[in-house]
């Protein structure tokens, strides 16, 4: 009984994680702007990794493999948002996609 609940929970979590990853890929291709694409990649990536690792850890029991899985998840949660932030920050500082007229308006008003 307990095994069945674990199996179903892990399967549901894996399916949700895969669906999130698919929508991430779709957003990466179809969004019109660079920043919205980065937003899709950065936001969906962390939750998708979390769901998949959670589902896998339910199936692998309570041993060293689960600890390693969660350490991998910690590493992904540290590095993936940082790298999307770095990309977006560098693009903004390089002037990519920044509207010049709105910059002048906001600086003349303040």
């Amino acid at each position: 009984m307990w095994d069945l609940i674990l199996l179903y929970t892990s399967n549901v979590s894996l399916i949700l994680g895969s669906f999130l990853s698919l929508s991430l890929g779709l957003g990466l291709i179809r969004f019109p702007d660079f920043y919205s694409r980065m937003h899709a990649a950065g936001v969906a990536d962390t939750l998708c990794a979390g769901l998949i690792v959670f589902g896998l850890s339910l199936q692998s029991g309570f041993n060293l493999v689960t600890l390693k899985l969660y350490l991998i998840l910690l590493f992904i949660w540290f590095t993936s948002p940082t790298s999307s932030f770095t990309l977006a920050n560098t693009a903004y500082r390089a002037g990519h996609g920044v509207d010049k007229t709105s910059e002048e308006e906001s600086s003349s008003k303040s």
């Binding site: 540290f78 590095t79 940082t82 932030f85 770095t86 920050n89 560098t90």
Partner: protein
């Protein structure tokens, strides 16, 4: 092949390397997958991207006829397919490749070298000559690149090309957290290569990746204070000399070149020592060469 944007092509090439690393894992080649992921998806992509940034050619005009190359490719492909009709089936246990030397490696490797990882023992002990040649090839590539690009580099105090990213506190904090762990992991991979996937090459590349991350965030000048080009050259030479001197020591102790059995009284102990020193030499040379490659590429003067 029909794409115009070179940047996208390089990114797709990185993804292709990562996918082939995943295929290697499903084909039970864990050491190879490790190396391909680190080297192919990491260092190769960085080098091609640096070249793209330096030659500053993003787009390309439409090119000439494609009929003759297509014909050549089709003829070659057909000849190769005809040649594979005699090959053994996929994953057949009775294929000739599994018959002669491989059973000896699998059965006798633990008694003769005492290492669980058969790939490391074959790489460092049974096929030590090939690995020596490989270390020399890496060293030669580093020397060749520094010879080619020395005359077009920035001098010491001119401003460089790489704008460092170390202004933002988030990037600084996360990199301060991650870089010591990356270097520690590289040390782990170097010395744990006897028991699991790992070894000198992968450890050297991960070491270099940690320092490259530092160079990208803090700046080239800071890392050149520690790793000047002379220092990197000496490190690369040290690795190669370490490898060859292990062979010379075994010659002086009475055995053949690179026969580790004669290093200590117990042959297995001698194998342990020999493999340890040899992998250390490989790791040092790979680290120095990969780091030297990246720093040389990022110091080239951008043409006006």
């Amino acid at each position: 092949m029909m794409m115009r944007d070179l940047f996208a092509i390089v990114m797709l090439f990185g993804i292709y390397s990562l996918l082939s690393a995943a295929i290697f894992v499903t084909l039970d080649a864990v050491d190879v997958a490790f190396t391909e992921a680190a080297v192919g998806a990491g260092i190769s992509t960085i080098l091609v991207l640096s070249t793209l940034a330096l030659t500053s050619s993003e787009e390309k005009p439409p090119q000439h006829k494609f009929f003759l190359p297509l014909l050549v490719v089709l003829i070659t492909g057909t000849a190769l397919v005809f040649g594979t009709l005699d090959m053994p089936d996929f994953a057949d246990p009775n294929a000739p490749v599994h018959q002669h030397v491989a059973p000896r490696y699998i059965h006798d490797s633990f008694q003769e070298t005492g290492l669980p990882n058969i790939v490391t023992s074959v790489l460092a002990s049974y096929r030590g000559y090939d690995t020596m040649g490989e270390v020399v090839v890496i060293f030669t590539a580093g020397i060749a690149v520094s010879l080619l690009l020395t005359s077009v580099r920035h001098k010491r105090n001119e401003p460089g090309n790489l704008k460092d990213l170390g202004h933002h506190p988030i990037i600084l904090y996360v990199s301060q957290l991650m870089i010591p762990l990356i270097l520690l992991f590289a040390l782990y991979v170097q010395f744990h290569g006897d028991f699991g996937p790992g070894g000198g090459f992968q450890a050297g590349v991960i070491f270099a990746a940690g320092f490259i991350l530092y160079a990208m965030i803090i700046g080239i000048d800071k890392i050149r204070e520690t790793f000047s080009s002379a220092c990197l050259r000496w490190l690369a030479v040290t690795g190669v000399v370490l490898y060859i001197s292990v062979g010379i020591v075994t010659l002086l102790l009475g055995g053949e070149f690179l026969n580790y059995n004669v290093i200590a009284e117990d042959p297995v102990e001698g194998q342990h020592w020999g493999i340890f020193l040899v992998e250390l030499g490989v790791g040092i040379t790979v680290t120095a060469t990969m780091l030297g490659l990246f720093l040389t590429f990022s110091e080239v003067k951008r043409s006006q």
